[in-house]
């Protein structure tokens, strides 16, 4: 099987694009730079281990897909990255998560600033019961953006980014809940993008959508590559294969999940090192 080198990020994404080079074994134009470093991470719910011994690096500007069967701790892992695990009673996290060299679970970490830096999109679109405009502007205001013009500009920019501007520009004050599922999910992405995060965590962002909307959102995620670092949990192996640069495969043994294998997407799908991975990606297990 021949492997053609594939650039991680498409250069035409503009001058802001991170220049992460080809990810295959070929010569790299520059070294992949880890933005999140996870070492020896364990996570427990009320003492019951849900995730053990996870170590991986997430590279800047790339899309990293986390795959594996349900209940193997992918979502828990994702939530530990922006400390959304704090919201779950009895959940404890051990081990190291560093984002840009700062320890996420340090008690002195400003959680609100962290969550602004690390946006998150959920499986079920969750726009607030407010107008489309307020959905984007309310979080901005809470983060200190007060000037009216700045708010309007950021709203338009974020909605354009997700391709929603032309669909909603005439009804920004309509309730967000009247939008279709796919539009709602794109609004949620716009809401996160408006805060100018560095990293976007996505927890199966397409699985609650119809195939058409799912395709639109998937294209949107592709467009985010380079400008944002994306970590996406997905059950859809084909989707992971289409969009991801890196992939991590989680598997649960006796209800405790762990990371079985992590590597470049192509390698995980085509030359998995672990037989569990091979069985899963070929559809024989899970």
């Amino acid at each position: 099987m021949t492997k053609t080198p594939e650039p991680c990020c498409t250069p035409q994404n503009g001058s802001e694009a991170y220049t992460v080079g080809p990810l295959q074994s070929g010569p790299a134009c520059c070294e992949p730079e880890p933005v999140i470093r996870v070492t020896n991470l364990s996570l427990r719910y009320a003492g019951q281990p849900a995730l053990e011994n996870v170590a991986l690096d997430i590279y800047r500007g790339c899309i990293t897909a986390l795959i594996g069967p349900s209940g193997c701790g992918k979502t828990s892992f994702l939530s530990s990255l922006n400390r959304l695990t704090d919201l779950i009673p009895g959940c404890t996290v051990e081990g190291g998560i560093e984002i840009d060299g700062r320890d996420v679970h340090d008690p002195d970490t400003d959680v609100q600033a962290l969550r602004r830096q690390v946006g998150m999109i959920f499986q079920k679109p969750n726009p607030f019961p407010l107008s489309i405009r307020r959905n984007i502007q309310m979080p901005l205001r809470e983060h200190g953006v007060r000037a009216c013009t700045a708010l309007e500009e950021k709203t338009e920019a974020a909605l354009r980014d997700v391709g929603l501007w032309d669909e909603v520009r005439d009804r920004l004050d309509a309730p967000a809940l009247v939008l279709s599922g796919g539009q709602q999910q794109r609004l949620c992405i716009a809401r996160a993008l408006a805060l100018q995060p560095e990293i976007l965590l996505m927890d199966e962002p397409c699985s609650a959508l119809d195939p058409l909307s799912s395709g639109v959102v998937e294209d949107l995620i592709q467009d985010l590559r380079g400008r944002y670092t994306v970590v996406i949990v997905t059950h859809n192996l084909a989707q992971a294969r289409r969009i991801a640069n890196y992939a991590g495969f989680f598997w649960a043994k006796e209800r405790t999940g762990t990371l079985v294998e992590f590597g470049q997407c192509r390698q995980i799908f085509e030359e998995p090192a672990h037989e569990l991975t091979a069985a899963y990606v070929s559809g024989m297990r899970g």
Partner: protein, 285 residues
């Protein structure tokens, strides 16, 4: 067939018994309501609702009684609402179910809900009227009713807040919003119908109350000029007319009719608000 007969007989007996009980319960209810309408409706008029009481209530209207009732309810809800809302928010948003303090609060609310109204009356008199020196006053009565209405208000408001989907809490947290921001922009507005229902139920509980008021807000049937005046609530008026005033029965029934109609209206508003919330949620999912 012979084997089935006793079974058939038992089925029939139970059915007869159950239908009989239901009919007699319904009969008593209709009898009660019918009497109330029969004796009370004739007295009702705009004049009855607005005029002052005369001749110890035998004639005249219930204008001053209605005003006193409204004032007592207003005092009760002005005090109970912020306190209850804050407690409900704490219980639903800020503490985990296993939290000791939350359990203590929950337990004492359940106990408070079970305390007999006459005991509230004793307490209100000893604490508000005597200890705090408020005397027989609308203020003392209202404060006593605030204590009484607190448990049902808190429990309903708490349930309403818990019914707000977690998706929004998670979404707000993921956007780095503070919890105060999430509460004021999203959670409280979303729970508004339930909070209003809680308020209505609290008012209903307070309005039906008699025993807690006879030693706190007192019997005076004049138009109150301030919150420090004694004022007679509708329920107390009914009690006084029927027990202490010979020939007051007709006006007692008319007042009872007014009270029950008000309560039904309030309860239906609460019900409508709660269902409205439910339908909204169904429409969203």
């Amino acid at each position: 067939m012979a084997r089935r007969n006793p079974r058939f007989l038992r089925d029939l007996l139970l059915a007869l018994l159950v239908w009989g009980v239901a009919a007699s319960v319904a009969g008593s209810f209709l009898w009660l309501v019918g009497d109330m309408l029969w004796h009370g409706a004739g007295q009702l008029s705009w004049n009855f609702l607005t005029a002052a009481t005369e001749n110890a209530g035998r004639s005249g209207g219930i204008g001053s009684i209605l005003v006193s009732t409204l004032l007592i309810l207003a005092v009760a809800m002005v005090v109970a609402t912020p306190l209850g809302l804050a407690t409900a928010v704490l219980l639903s948003e800020f503490v985990s179910p296993g939290n000791r303090f939350a359990q203590l609060v929950g337990l004492s609310l359940d106990v408070l809900a079970g305390v007999p109204s006459i005991v509230f009356g004793l307490f209100g008199m000893a604490f508000f009227s005597v200890f705090l020196g408020l005397g027989f006053s609308i203020l003392a009565g209202g404060l006593t009713l605030a204590c009484m209405a607190l448990p049902i208000f808190i429990r309903t408001a708490e349930a309403g807040l818990r019914a707000v989907p977690d998706d929004w809490r998670r979404g707000a947290a993921a956007l780095g919003l503070s919890r105060s921001a999430a509460l004021s922009h999203i959670l409280l507005p979303a729970a508004t119908p339930a909070l209003a229902a809680a308020l209505m139920l609290g008012i209903g509980r307070a309005m039906a109350e008699t025993a807690a008021l006879i030693f706190t807000s007192g019997y005076v049937d004049r138009m109150p000029s301030s919150l420090a005046d004694s004022g007679r609530a509708l329920a107390v008026h009914i009690y006084d007319l029927s027990m202490n005033v010979a020939g007051g029965d007709a006006n007692a029934y008319a007042t009872a009719l007014v009270l029950v109609v008000l309560l039904i209206v309030i309860n239906n508003i609460a019900l409508w608000l709660a269902q409205n919330l439910l339908q909204k949620r169904i429409a969203q999912s």
